[in-house]
Symmetry: C2
Subunit: 441 residues, 2 copies
């Protein structure tokens, strides 16, 4: 029997506690599969005495995770503290530098310091694994980093935030407004008390930045992402989309274009008959388009203590199965020194279809004027629909006109919408939602 | 720079030729990612002179793949010969025994000899990788073998045969009969001249047997699978399913039950709003239900030269990234000696919902008699629908009655259908299709 793999866990929240419990319960199974025991020998958290439903009395306690990373007799540091700065950053750096493998679920940390940490891991000849950082229990990091080796990837996109997908699903299925669905999500523990980070798309952006780097071999650019949240999506938009054969999802999309890489997070219309449209509730899904294999779609639980712990455990098992001294490929898929600089494509150059919903004065000539503004901006229309007001209390002098465009550019759409605004008949803010072409449709 | 990883490819059909071409074209990319060059140094195929669009003049040629496995100066044997017996089996065994890693896409070989080969690989301390053997380019082997380490799996099911899914999709979308769709599939190269192996479910069964072993830690039992192909599925069945909110797919299902493991391949009704129902054409998909992570669904191209070559390349890259002497976990997820014997659950004990379609004489009392036979067999019905004949030339004295049952057992359904048969009003063979509960529905 080889020596046990000794683990130190920094952070004992939902994920850390679940991991602690599971590693205890599955001791024999893990030993059999990994060929050696996997044992948690040290933990660190803010409050030693808090009841977490686990017995930490037999493992070494550290008040300071950085001290644990530096001093504990461990082979692997599991970083579950969260946050892009210290102590998570310091703990990870200290551990890697002394030759301790690091497993982390911390997307914010990787989005900001991933390249630096990858370089430190490579220099020390240890592993930096982070399956849990993106899309929870879905093995998308492994797919990009290992399975697709040799493929050139053209696009990766997905539903990366369970909170947003839960809200959009409830709105669509139960005909409820955004605010009400958000409250439901909070009540069920799917949304934070301050949900800004989720609903404005920042969480999705962090995860997308990591996927972009793995997909395209570029440096991580977590701050250089076009960002639009779901707070402006109304139940009317969802109904209009449905009628036109689409569903609205918050997607993170990274796409290689002639002028660079598009990284964008925004509400997106996807065809009803695509797999991604069927992804409901807190479930996540990622689509990868690769030149040799074609399109892969992976879906599963994107969050939750157990699902995240499962991904962390998979990362730990990879280390346990490897003989000491082995390094299973660089953290970001290729050596940190070989990562290309991130070149951002301008959002104005984005090409695609658009859904444009305009609340306008109900008078003669408006329809024709809108059609003319679109034509002047060289936008070709797939459909124009005038929708009846949904609610009885809606102003009868205002009607909604919904346009779906063929492929055009963001710049053209912005110009056309501004031109329409100049005509003076708009009665509310225009709604513009990008349509994403999916393979299935 | 570490030494190149030297590859011998046995079999230069569609997959082998694609692999040869891709490894040549992506030389620099592979070297960068793997930290060493990956080079094909030897090949073996039936006919040396055949034009495959690749230049094999600079690599060593072997007429006999077993000789190549035994004598060539290689680190990895890629077995793409196919077939469960020699020379594929002999080549793999000889290679493993002398300490050469083996990568194979050969499901028939693994379904029959997988445990023996895994044991040989373990004894020699080398890898046996076979991502391409199940569901082509979808990284389902890696998910089960690595990502889900520590999870207990309750069910794995999927669309594992592109030929069948193509035919069923065409029938549904284009309202075409089975025979016509099969011809289309043959014309497009999606079906063999003799399609028996695909349409009768044998190919799905081979892949399922491999998934079962990985999911449940049992020995591979490729011959102990309930098998029902798609040749009896009519366009009427597909329409009836659609009306009831279902789609018909050929699924391979492995499920842990109290009395053992169910392994079954049969046409299956899945809810229209499930992800698996959206998997169209030659695309494959696999769902894995695991106790810690929850449900994962992975979809992608299940066949084709490039997609299969991509999976083979991922397996090769895993070996290239590993330092010599490293073994990245046992081939079947746990050591061959620890695999539990396969205990088959009896098909008669299978529990689930059923779709039963009966062509009956159009006379008073038949409806009541059917309802009574179901009640006598303790089958509770979710719906009974009398369907109008679809075609004008249908006999007007015959009507079709469609039943959907709540969860019951296979034994009850068989008994009830036999009892109905005894009543003398059946005008054709009864159609019985199992309904599979999916997480989404």
């Amino acid at each position: 029997m080889t020596d046990a793999l000794k683990i130190g866990v920094a952070g004992l929240g939902t994920v850390g506690s679940a991991l602690f419990r599971i590693i205890g319960e599955r001791h024999n199974m893990l030993t059999e599969i990994c060929g050696r025991p996997v044992t948690i020998v040290a933990v660190s958290a803010r409050d030693r005495s808090r009841d977490r439903g686990i017995d930490i009395s037999k493992v070494e306690w550290f008040d300071d995770p950085v001290a644990m990373a530096r001093d504990a007799d461990i082979d692997v540091l599991v970083e579950l503290i969260g946050g892009e700065g210290d102590p998570a950053l310091a703990a990870a750096k200290v551990a890697l530098a002394r030759g301790v493998h690091v497993v982390t679920a911390n997307k914010a940390l990787l989005a900001r310091h991933g390249v630096e940490l990858a370089r430190t891991a490579e220099d020390a000849g240890v592993l930096l694994n982070f399956e849990a950082a993106v899309a929870g229990g879905i093995p998308v990091i492994k797919a990009l980093r290992e399975s697709l080796t040799g493929n050139a990837i053209s696009r990766v996109y997905g539903i990366l935030n369970g909170t947003c997908n839960y809200i959009l699903t409830r709105m669509q299925k139960d005909n409820m407004g955004f605010a009400e669905c958000l409250k439901e999500a909070q009540r069920l523990g799917y949304a934070e008390a301050d949900p800004t980070f989720d609903i404005e798309g920042n969480d999705t952006a962090h995860k997308l930045a990591i996927l972009t780097s793995l997909a395209f071999g570029t440096e991580i650019a977590g701050d250089d992402i076009y960002l639009e949240g779901i707070t402006n999506i109304s139940i009317e938009d969802i109904h209009a989309a449905e009628e036109l054969g689409y569903r609205i999802k918050l997607l993170g999309v990274a796409q290689r274009t002639a002028s660079g890489i598009e990284q964008r997070v925004h509400p997106t219309m996807v065809p009803l008959d695509s797999m991604i449209a069927q992804v409901d509730g807190v479930t996540n899904a990622v689509s990868i388009e690769a030149d040799i294999v074609g399109e892969l779609v992976l879906s599963g639980p994107g969050a939750g203590g157990d699902a995240t712990a499962s991904a962390v455990l998979g990362d730990i098992a990879d280390i346990a199965k490897a003989r000491p001294g082995h390094q299973h490929g660089p953290a970001l898929g290729r050596p940190a020194a070989h990562l290309a600089p991130y070149q951002r494509a301008r959002m104005r150059s984005h090409e695609g279809g658009y859904f444009i919903s305009l609340k306008v004065e109900d008078r003669t000539g408006v329809f024709a004027s809108i059609a003319k503004q679109m034509a002047d901006a060289k936008i070709s229309l797939e459909s124009i629909v005038q929708r009846a007001p949904l609610r009885k209390d809606t102003d009868p002098t205002v009607k909604t006109i919904v346009l779906v465009t063929h492929a055009t550019t963001e710049a053209s759409v912005r110009a056309a919408v501004e031109a329409v605004r100049g005509e003076g008949y708009l009665r509310g803010e225009p709604q513009v939602i990008r349509i994403e072409r999916t393979q299935a449709a």
